[in-house]
Structures are given as C-alpha cells and as structure tokens.
C-alpha cells in the first residue's frame, strides 16, 4: 500500500492541449448557455433554447474542422485520450446527428407540456459523452464516456413522466442499461487484472498471442462485448429497443437509434482493434454468432410489426447485425466498412424518423394503417419516406446500397468459409428486409385514406430542414464515394 501511495508524490500535472478539447468545450459552453437562459426566463416556451443548443452543436464542428486541417495526431494523458482521424470523423458524425435531432425536437418538445430547458441540457450532455467516446483509448475514459452518454439518455427515454408508457420506456432502458454496464465493468476489471494497465494498447500487448490465462481473458472479452452489445441492440440484448423506442419522444428514439448506437459501435471498434487484436480466435466467432442472430431475428420480428416506430426499432436491430457482420472477419477493410455503414445509416435512419414525426403531426398515430393513402394528401412526405425506406433496404442508387456493398466487400476480401457464409446470411436478410420496408410504402401509395381526412400535412420549418439535410446526404452517399472516403480516413486508429 505504501509503495502505491508513494507514486502519488511523483504526480505532475499534465499539460492540457485545449485545442484538442475544442469540440467538447464548445458543447459544454452551449450547455451552460441553455442552463442560464432557462434560469433567467424559466416559464413557458422559450424558442431561444433550441437555437442555442443547435448553434452550440454547429459551433462544436468548427474545432473538429480546424483539428482535421491541422492533421497531427494528439495524445493526451499518456495516450488515454487521443485525437486522430478516426475520432474526428466520428465526432463530426455525432455532432451532425445531434444537430438533426435538435431540428426534429424543436416543435415536438415546444408543443408538449414538459420543460424544454432540461431536455436540451440532457441532449447536449449525452452528445459530450459521445464525442469523448470517439477519443477514449483507456478503460477508465471509455467507461466515463459510456456513462456520460447513457445516464442522460435514460432520463430522456422516460421524458414523459406523467405517461405510463413513458415510465415503462425509461425504467426498462435504465435497468437493462445499468445491468449491461455493470457486467461490462466486471469484464474491464478482469482485463485490468490480466494486463496491469488500463490503456487499451497496453492491454492489447499483454494479452496478444495466447499470453496470460486464456479462460480468464475469454471471460473478460465476452463480458466487455456483452456490455457494448446492449448499447448497439444486438440479439439477445435487444429486448429493450422496441419498447423504449415506442415510449420515448420520437426525436429521442431517433437519437438512440442513430447516435447512441453509433457510440456503442465506436467503443466496440476501439476495444476490438486496440485491446483484442491478438485474440481473433475469441472475437471472430463471437461476432459471427452475434451478427447472424441479430440480423435474422431482428428481421423476422420486424415482419409482423404494425407500428412504424416499432418496425423501425426492429429494422434498427437488423441493421446493427449488418454493421456487426464485417467484424466477424476483423480486417482493416471491415473497420472501413463499419464506419462507412454508420455514416450512411445515420443519414437514412434520422431521415426516416424525421419523416415519421412530420406525418404523425397529422395522423396522431404511428400505426402503419394510419399512413394509408398518404400520397393523396402529402405526396412530398410520401416520396421522402419511401426514399429512406428503400435506402434502408439497400436499393441503388440510394445510400443504403453502398453500405451493403462495403459489408460484402469486407466479407469477400477475407476469403474464408465463415466470411462467405456470413455474406450469404447478409444477402438473404436483405431480401427479407425489403418485404417489410416495401409494405409500408405500399400502404402509403396504394391504400385508401382510413378516415377520409385529406387535409394537407403542415411540416414546420425545422423538420423540413432536417428532411432536406438527410435527403441530400442519403442521395449523395449513394452516387459518390464520400462515405467510403470518410471510412478510409477513419481506418487508422492512432495509439
């Protein structure tokens, strides 16, 4: 004990590079500004709150761009926090997704009867956790980032506190989330015990190539993967997703389905590529089984959904399976495939939720049958939602096909039997998914209007802006190599 305490006296305060923390500092600034404005003018609707939050998120993109043009990798706190191309691409993804979610929330939250200030504060603190996660290269940093992004998300999921469905969403998300992070922590404590260090790269060196106790390391890897599998809603840890998605406010559903899921994948990529690269024998079969189960079961349950939000929840589970698939061969190409898929998935899934929010303002329901005959009175929204659904199904030339293509390329490039079998499973699942996506489109284009009410849908400006951004991104990703170039940029994890 004395030997341990003796280390404390050697402590020297580290040099903090504030430029590297630019994005996080901008978000903290926006958070404080929202808090102060909310305190000064506490009652009623305050239209400034969403504007401040939105501008803060856009402002946080400026240091991301200056750090990217600067180009140098920055290592802080002995390599526990790294700013490299990988982290910058993902920070930009989180910030843009967060901005689109704020656009979607503006009218939705202002028209509800719950406090607005806390909503944006929680959203911004969850975003700070995500930007931290992109740079975390140390078990403690990963854990803190994960909790910083999760704890506000639990509260946001249970946002409608006087509504029983809202309570159920919050408590289910909370209990399963803290249980998963407790199991993850137990795995982390075992990893720390084997490696004697909390930095991911040091752990990677300590457990590479059969070093250390195999049984203990396997247990630790399984526990850590289980913790992140919950975050990305992989089967069998997906059971929270549909109920939480249905009970939470729809913009938060979009946030959980895109940004929170992407953060889970980022953490998974960091541990797989930095801490477990010498343990492919454990990771690859584990990822293979998770990916195959996730996409197949997600798709089969999605087939019998009657509510669009629950359908998008199960489709999100299936998409998580597609994103996990390339990790079953764990090559350089599969890292690029995962990042590319996450970028395209963010654009098309946020778009689909924005369109559903727009339509539900009139139909007051997310049942698929209530979308009947939508084309007769809202042709624009019908075309846009169909576009996102077909993109999710992977129809060229929309963005989704490129996402599927990079997954197939990574699987074929491995040139192993398990890689080809996984490719076949992905192909079969893509066909199943097309059925339920097309079913929603058929309802909108061909069925009669259920209650005969053909008054047009009024789409507020902010939702229109969210739709415009996501439509342009989905189309651009399909016909250009923008997303794969971002994926290429992100393939180098500095350490």
């Amino acid at each position: 004990m004395l030997a341990v305490l003796a280390q404390v006296s050697d402590f020297v305060a580290p040099n903090i590079d504030f430029h590297a923390f630019g994005p996080e500092l901008a978000l903290v600034g926006a958070l404080v500004a929202v808090l102060v404005v909310d305190v000064i003018k506490p009652d009623g609707n305050n239209p400034f709150l969403s504007s401040i939050a939105g501008l803060g998120v856009l402002g946080a993109l400026i240091p991301v761009i200056t750090l990217a043009t600067d180009g140098a990798d920055r290592f802080l706190f002995d390599g526990a926090y790294v700013v490299d191309n990988f982290s910058l691409v993902l920070k930009a993804l989180f910030l843009v997704s967060g901005y689109v979610v704020i656009l979607m929330s503006t009218n939705y939250i202002a028209e509800g009867d719950y406090a607005e200030g806390e909503y944006y504060i929680l959203l911004l603190s969850s975003l700070i956790g995500m930007t931290l996660m992109a740079s975390a290269r140390d078990l403690i940093t990963v854990f803190i980032a994960l909790e910083l992004l999760s704890i506000p998300a639990y509260m946001l999921a249970g946002w409608r506190k006087r509504d029983l469905i809202g309570n159920e969403a919050g408590v289910k998300y909370y209990l399963m989330g803290v249980f998963a992070s407790a199991v993850l922590l137990y795995g982390m404590s075992l990893l720390f015990g084997v490696a004697g260090d909390t930095r991911l790269t040091e752990i990677g060196q300590a457990i590479a190539g059969g070093a250390g106790e195999t049984a203990l390391i396997t247990l630790a890897i399984v526990f850590v993967v289980v913790g992140f599998a919950f975050k990305v809603s992989a089967v069998p840890f997906h059971t929270w997703a549909p109920d939480v998605y249905e009970g939470a406010p729809t913009p938060i559903t979009a946030f959980l389905a895109v940004a929170s899921k992407a953060a889970g994948f980022v953490a998974l990529l960091q541990v797989i590529y930095l801490a477990f690269p010498g343990r492919d024998d454990v990771i690859q079969p584990l990822m293979w089984v998770l990916a195959a189960a996730t996409m197949t079961i997600g798709n089969l349950i999605a087939l019998r959904q009657t509510n669009v939000v629950r359908l998008l929840a199960y489709s999100g589970v299936a998409q998580a399976g597609f994103i996990l698939a390339p990790l079953s061969v764990a090559s350089e190409l599969s890292l690029q495939a995962v990042i590319t898929y996450l970028v395209i998935y963010a654009a098309m899934n946020l778009g689909a939720f924005a369109a559903v929010i727009g339509i539900a303002r009139k139909t007051r329901s997310a049942e698929i049958t209530s979308f009947g005959g939508l084309f007769e009175y809202a042709p624009g929204l019908t075309v846009i939602l169909s576009l996102f659904l077909f993109s999710l199904a992977g129809i060229p030339p929309l963005g989704g096909w490129l996402a599927k293509f990079v997954v197939f390329r990574a699987l074929a490039d491995a040139n192993t039997a398990s890689g080809y079998v996984m490719g076949a499973i992905v192909a079969v699942n893509s066909v199943i998914a097309l059925y339920y996506y097309a079913n929603v489109a058929r309802e909108m284009w061909m069925k009669p209007v259920p209650d005969g009410d053909r008054s047009p849908v009024v789409v507020p400006f902010s939702i229109g802006a969210a739709l415009a951004l996501t439509v342009v991104a989905t189309m651009a990703f399909g016909v250009s190599n923008l997303a794969t170039r971002l994926g290429d940029q992100a393939t180098f994890l500095a350490f």
Partner: protein, 102 residues
C-alpha cells in the same frame, strides 16, 4: 500482495457478482434490483483494488473511485425513476410495468 491473498479477494468478488446477477434476474421489486446492481458494482471495486495492489499500480484504486462516483449518479437517476413509477402506479413491482408488447 501474493497470489493466495489475491485469490481470496477474487473469490469474494465472484460471489458478490453472482449474487447481484441472480438478484437482477430473479427479483421483481425495483428497489431490490437496484441493490443487486450495486452488489455487482462493488464486486467490480473489490476486483479493481485487489488487482491494483497485486500489480503494484495505483490505476486500480483510481478506477474504483470513478466507479463509486458514477454508481452514485446512476442510482440517483434510478431512484428518481422508481419514485415516478410509484407516484403513477402506487407500486414498484416490475412485472406490472409491462404495457407494451410485440
């Protein structure tokens, strides 16, 4: 710390972890489930401090401090949610919080 001593701490931690997992999976009272999650987190802390002392590094104790702080924040949110549910339903039985199906 020698290996024999370390094994005793790891055994205690494994027992606490298993008790906690059993409590989360089998108990239906929300407050007892929260307590069981605390048991798992304390198993983690014992592991971290024991491994840290075994490896002669302070990182384990620092990690444990972080876990304690975050656990307090988590339980704060959790008890608030249980309170909201109690206000709306007059019960904290998790089996009754199951309206959504499918």
């Amino acid at each position: 710390m020698d290996d024999l001593m370390l094994n005793q701490f790891l055994l205690l931690s494994a027992i606490l972890f298993s008790t906690g997992v059993y409590g989360v999976l089998a108990k239906r009272n929300a407050v007892i489930v929260l307590m069981s999650i605390e048991l798992i987190l304390n198993a983690v802390n014992i592991n971290l401090v024991a491994f840290g002392a075994h490896n002669g590094t302070i990182a384990g104790s620092v990690f444990a401090l972080f876990v304690i702080a975050v656990a307090a924040a988590e339980v704060g949110v959790g008890l608030a949610m249980v309170l909201v549910i109690y206000r709306n339903r007059k019960s904290v039985d998790l089996d009754e919080v199951a309206q959504m199906k499918g």
